[in-house]
Subunit: 318 residues, 2 copies
């Protein structure tokens, strides 16, 4: 089978044997994979990664102990947890200290013709969701995670910084939940997708509004994002940090303390709300697909995904 | 009258006229002033400060429209707010955007024989509190502010990083409120003060425990404090930031996001709980006074306060 490999900042496609599925694991044939900014960061050396990347995927189950899964389209939770520890028992396997993470930490990823995942990680994709849209379940779950972490009063406008893939999903999720969302970005085309979902958008030329919002989401993916977010936040306000940036960012903590600002780190989320949002057609992800390319052309697909202005690049495998 | 001046990193004592009290302001004769780390930071150039420092004080009211204040010992809230804006109406004048701050921002400080403050900023010191202990009301209010900002479950141990003045007050306040407090510091003598208040203390030699606490207070006053705090915090845990550090700190935000940690900036607090704690003899501040020196010897007092191992240095004015 074909599999994408990252090594020394290079993307390669290699031919190799199918993986073996340990007990409790399903064998899944890849249908679509989504290239995420984290994959691009892994390519740049984040986590000292080398191996098979990919954690956004839709596949078809070809082998499983649970017979009802066979032949079904599935998406999969990316954290492989122990199932026993205190975090797992609290339903927070995403924070299990023994976890491995699909395509990120010690578990080969989804960018290969066949992959394996524990059956309990899988969610069947409802028929109403087209395959290429179901790839967005994982990042959409990460966007919806915000609503599991903080209680934003519905009267409070929320600023979203950044108009990349995650920023657009966050803005749409918040808008669907009834919030007044102001999204700030640098790309007219991208902001248009949010605007169609009822988000108030602003093309950032130079200055951002200062001390204006009680709730700010940093989804810039840039080391400067947090500094901008702090500047935009009112005293006693809250910033949700959605940008995983690799390495040390120079950051002045004084205004955070003087203004008693709260920062909330936010990562993966539950798949259920994301599947519901897509099933009900509430999030426009179709317009976020910039290109679809076969798995065999992964090096070109990674190059395309890294270009400014490009949104989601999907790897296809039919 | 004598007044302490900071200019170009120098501490000087100058003779000048008494200030004039505008309408609504009281004239206060200084009894004691406390040198805080913020004063030492101001001396190092923080806020581009030049002028009369000092925001921790006890004084005697000599002139006021409110006759009941005259002759009484008072402490004073350091934020001079507008009284009209949204923050002031919410009881958060400490965050009033138009505020000046005693001895820090655009209002001459308390390290002078006579100072002025709005009468509504003043709190009468109960007779049970000795004058030199009442100087601690302001920093103790800042320590107690934590309990106004977050709800820590009583079953959860709290780690306090740092055994400086603020760290010792934070540890004691939390212990008095029934929390199991583990304080980490570098000075045996200082930790002993917390230990006497029932705090479990640990002299830090090299390594701090990793991912052990759901609640961590950073009161190190050091740029590395936050990095240590993040390392000690369990996934989904909370860090309260009590260290105002001047300038950019290199900080890796990735573990905060991966572990979905919350950071809460924390600054000044209400004086009422601090006065109650001192009136009831619940906080040992007597052992935190390293030295008392007359206002006229302020340059030497600032040098003493900056020495490692020294806790509170008081300026006296009788």
């Amino acid at each position: 089978m074909l599999a994408v490999h990252l090594k020394n900042r290079r993307v390669e496609v290699r031919r190799g044997p199918r993986p073996r599925a340990p007990e409790g694991f399903a064998m899944i044939r890849l249908l679509r994979g989504g290239i995420c900014n984290t994959d691009l960061e892994l390519q740049r050396g984040y986590y000292g990664f080398s191996g098979i990347p990919g954690h956004e995927f839709v596949g078809e189950v070809v082998e499983a102990a649970r017979r009802d899964l066979i032949g079904r389209r599935v998406v999969g939770e990316i954290n492989l947890d122990c199932g026993c520890c205190e975090f797992c028992r609290r339903g927070l396997g995403r924070h299990c200290p023994k976890r491995t993470v699909l395509g990120i930490v010690k578990h080969p990823g989804a960018f290969r013709e066949f992959l394996t995942l524990p059956e309990r990680n899988l969610h069947v994709v409802p028929d109403a969701i087209p395959t290429e849209q179901a790839v967005f379940v994982e990042p959409l779950a990460a966007a919806a995670e915000i609503l599991d972490q903080v209680s934003i009063p519905c009267s409070s406008p929320v600023a979203v910084l950044g108009d990349g893939k995650l920023g657009l999903l966050v803005a749409q999720v918040l808008a669907v939940h009834g919030y007044r969302v102001h999204q700030f970005g640098r790309h007219k085309e991208k902001l248009r997708i949010a605007a169609r979902a009822g988000v108030e958008t602003e093309l950032v030329r130079d200055r951002l509004p200062a001390a204006q919002y009680d709730w700010v989401v940093d989804a810039t993916g840039s080391p400067q994002g947090l500094t901008h977010a702090v500047r935009m936040t009112r005293p006693r306000g809250t910033i949700i940090m959605k940008s995983t940036v690799h390495g040390l960012a120079g950051f002045d903590t004084a205004p955070m303390i003087v203004n008693e600002i709260t920062l909330v780190g936010s990562r993966c989320g539950r798949f259920e709300p994301a599947l519901d949002l897509l099933k009900n057609g509430l999030i426009n992800v179709a317009d976020m697909i910039s290109e679809q390319m076969p798995l065999s052309r992964a090096p070109a697909a990674f190059r395309t995904a890294a270009k400014p202005g490009v949104l989601k690049v999907l790897l296809t495998c039919d």
